[in-house]
């Protein structure tokens, strides 16, 4: 079970990386707007290429 001394720090480090990612995301304004990001993927398509694809 001594390997837990490795796994717990590793788990914490992994979680810390994601926490740091979260803090960075908030600070860099990733979540200032939670409305348009959901819409953006829908309107990116180039209509020239996908006129009637699969509809």
């Amino acid at each position: 079970m001594i390997v837990i001394y490795l796994l717990i720090p590793l788990g914490i480090v992994t979680a810390a990386i994601f926490l740091a990612g979260f803090i960075w995301a908030v600070r860099s304004g990733q979540y200032e707007d939670t409305c348009t990001p959901a819409l953006r993927p829908l309107i990116e398509d180039n209509p020239k290429n996908h006129k009637k694809a699969n509809e």
Binding site: T14, L42, N46
Partner: protein
């Protein structure tokens, strides 16, 4: 073409808009390559699964051919569907959506193709080495060390390509799908490296640096998170991109998706020990795994509801569109599997379900439902777009949907019934207090009809994939492939800086620190682990039982054959502290018994009985006859014949290297034992052969089977030699009901 992708941007003062619009091309070739690989490997992997399923009710189906026998074929099936089918499927989904969400091409075409060919070469290597018996035996991490290193290298290539594309993105906001992709890339690297640490012996053999309980804990920390970060997070990212695209409406709640993401990745990493409930793993670690597993319901269902509620007001589309049908079924299956998972992680439920086909039903709800159907939906959505055409036959795709759904039902429902039946029969006592079904074979016979039904379900599902392959092929033929898709966008950097930056070089410099940081992180993790782990693990002072001794050279080779043949696919070596198990198998397993087991061989499924206390239970001749023809000693057995063990010569050339490697990972063989090992082996083999003669069996001492018999006869016997009734060294386990 609009260059005002996001409304707020229009309000910003940009001096000269036309000069900031950049034209670039999306790489569709790499997406198509991964899509083709997904379909091909899907068919290969599911066919391997079907061959496995058939052997469980018709053991002769391997045609006595060792390379396709269940124990060796099962890892081919699991690796093919997880890393080849779902692996290529996730890369297909990621390479298409990341380019569009970031409004950029991937970092480098060279890296993209290195990734594609490297990954698929690894799969081919797996498909060759696993049937040959080159395996670590650790589930979903079976590939031996040279392939493991290749996986790590290719994974780093993928990670750099992905993060590079994100760094040079033109869209400032990183859409939630990409968060899931980032988590996938980073976490899989960590898991793969930590669990894969081995001391190499030969080119195709290594010994895990961890032993017994340690190895089990690291393996299931890895194993469960392989489910989390290979089968779940990348596919959730794909759900967040492709489901809104297919339904043509935004995700129900972007805010919920944020909570979903951070909660899910944080909690998942702790849930691994739920694979080891009631084993020799200390109680507190089991409880930790159980608690985190139950907490996982919340983010999982948040994600499922977010997906389903996106279809509010669009259910009429679901009726028409096979893409949406598959997505709804996939997300629903995700919800079912993630409710069932925490339930199975409750110790009380697990005491019934563990080692039974219930687990098989559970993973196939996830694999056939969630991963399979989401992959199909993305393929049906993507291929017409890559070929600038319509799907060749919507009707055929609808047929595929119903066939897949029916196939899945015919798979999982019989497995649920089989699992609960097994679990109940194993635990059933008569009024007098004896086991109701003391012969394990009775419980096997009882579930054979369900094994047959399961094979029918699998056949249906596989047939559906063939229909899809045909449909996609016709679609591709009808359309015109768009290898380079032109797109235009305004980079957020040029806007915030108020004037146009001349481009790539400056942005590249801007982005370099993050790229460097990521590379540094990976380097630090690798370097740090190589230094730290041997220090902690190899010199550790494990709780030992004084009478537990290292394996003899013959037993070491026998154990390695046990690993090669994949015996642990059907036989556990872990007796849980229940009366139903101690009555059937003997004394329950103690942590201290496994201190020389590199790797651990506890297993996760009992298609046959547990073997922890098999040593001394039957004479040598019984084992010889049983491996020759299991039905001669155990009528009705579904175990395959192991004829090649009787004829193949035992390979002793690497014996000194094996002893040396085992000493390096902490097994206390005396100095110079390598040189005496062969003599020791011959002596013990001679004794086994002499004893076989008493049992009317004539055998040569230099065959594989002699080593296997020696190993089986040693199993679980050491604690019986203890001077006093066994006192547990480390404690932590209590006998249950």
């Amino acid at each position: 073409m609009t260059n005002a992708a996001s409304p707020p941007r229009d309000q910003r003062p940009t001096p000269d808009r036309s000069s900031t619009v950049e034209t670039f091309r999306y790489d569709n070739r790499i997406v198509r390559a991964f899509a083709i690989a997904t379909v091909i490997w899907g068919i290969v992997g599911m066919t391997a699964g079907l061959l496995c399923a058939v052997q469980l009710f018709f053991p002769g189906a391997n045609l006595d051919f060792q390379f396709v026998t269940f124990g060796r074929l099962r890892p081919v099936h699991t690796n093919a569907v997880i890393f080849a089918f779902v692996g290529n499927g996730m890369f297909m989904g990621i390479y298409y959506s990341v380019q569009r969400l970031c409004k950029t091409r991937m970092l480098s075409d060279t890296l993209s193709w290195l990734h594609f060919w490297g990954w698929n070469a690894i799969i081919v290597a797996a498909a060759i080495t696993l049937p040959m018996g080159f395996t670590t035996s650790k589930e979903y991490a079976e590939l031996e060390w040279p392939i493991k290193i290749a996986i790590a290298v290719i994974w780093v290539v993928f990670t750099i390509n992905l993060l590079g594309a994100i760094v040079k993105r033109r869209e400032k906001h990183i859409y939630v799908a990409i968060w899931f992709y980032i988590a996938t890339a980073l976490t899989v690297a960590v898991l793969h490296i930590v669990n894969g640490l081995e001391v190499p012996v030969t080119l195709w053999k290594g010994y895990s640096i961890y032993a017994g309980v340690q190895d089990a804990l690291v393996q299931w920390w890895y194993g469960h998170n392989a489910v989390a970060f290979v089968l779940t997070t990348p596919y959730l990212g794909m759900m967040y991109y492709y489901l809104p695209k297919a339904a043509n409406r935004p995700i129900f709640s972007y805010r919920l998706s944020i909570i979903h993401f951070w909660a899910l990745i944080f909690i998942y990493i702790w849930a691994g020990p739920h694979h080891l409930l009631y084993t020799a793993l200390p109680d507190w670690a089991q409880s930790l795994g159980m608690v985190f597993s139950i907490m996982l319901i919340a983010p999982s269902w948040g994600g499922m509801l977010n997906g389903l509620l996106t279809l509010r007001g669009a259910w009429d589309k679901v009726r028409q569109d096979p893409v949406l049908k598959f997505m709804v079924a996939a997300v629903t299956a995700y919800g079912m599997a993630t409710l069932e998972g925490p339930a199975l992680a409750i110790k009380t439920v697990n005491s019934l379900s563990h080692y039974t086909d219930w687990t098989i039903a559970h993973v196939h709800t996830g694999a056939l439902g969630w991963n399979g159907m989401l992959t199909f939906s993305v393929l049906y959505w993507l291929l017409p777009r890559l070929y600038n055409t319509k799907l060749w036959s919507v009707k055929l795709a609808n047929y595929h949907f119903w066939i897949a759904l029916l196939g899945m039902m015919f798979y999982v429902i019989p497995m649920y019934i089989a699992g609960i039946t097994e679990g109940m029969m194993w635990k059933q006592f008569t009024k007098e207090g004896f086991l109701q079904y003391p012969n394990f074979l009775e419980t096997v016979q009882q579930i054979l009809p369900f094994y047959r039904l399961r094979a029918i379900g699998g056949t249906l599902y596989l047939f559906g994939v063939w229909l899809m392959a045909y449909n996609l092929w016709r679609t591709a033929r009808a359309g015109q492939f768009v290898p380079e898709e032109e797109a235009r966008a305004v980079s957020w950097r040029s806007q915030t800086l108020a004037h146009a930056e001349p481009a790539f070089t400056h942005r590249w410099l801007e982005s370099k620190p993050m790229l460097l940081a990521v590379c540094a992180l990976i380097a630090v993790l690798i370097g740090g682990m190589i230094e730290i782990i041997p220090m902690i693990v190899v010199k550790e002072n494990v709780p030992t039982i004084s009478s537990v001794k290292p394996y003899t050279p013959l037993e070491v080779l026998g154990r390695d054959i046990y690993i090669r043949e994949g015996c642990l696919a059907c036989h556990s070596q872990m007796i849980r502290p229940f009366r139903s198990e101690t009555e059937r198998y003997g004394e329950y397993s103690k942590a201290g018994e496994f201190v020389y087991d590199h790797p651990f061989l506890w297993g996760s499924k009992r298609i046959g009985p547990d073997l922890q206390r098999i040593g001394g239970k039957y004479p040598n001749a019984w084992h010889y006859n049983h491996l020759d023809d299991p039905r001669s000693t155990s009528p009705g057995s579904i175990m395959p014949r192991y004829l090649w063990l009787l004829s193949q010569k035992l390979d002793t050339t690497s014996l000194p290297a094996r002893i040396g490697a085992l000493r390096r990972v902490g097994v206390p063989y005396p100095a110079g034992f390598e040189n005496k090992a062969l003599d020791d082996l011959n002596q013990q083999a001679g004794k086994v052969v002499a004893d076989l003669k008493n049992g009317q069996v004539t055998a040569q001492p230099d065959r594989d089977i002699i080593a296997v018999i020696a190993y089986l006869q040693r199993l679980g016997t050491d604690i019986k030699l203890a001077p006093k009734p066994v006192a547990e060294a480390a404690g932590g386990l209590r006998a249950g009901n």
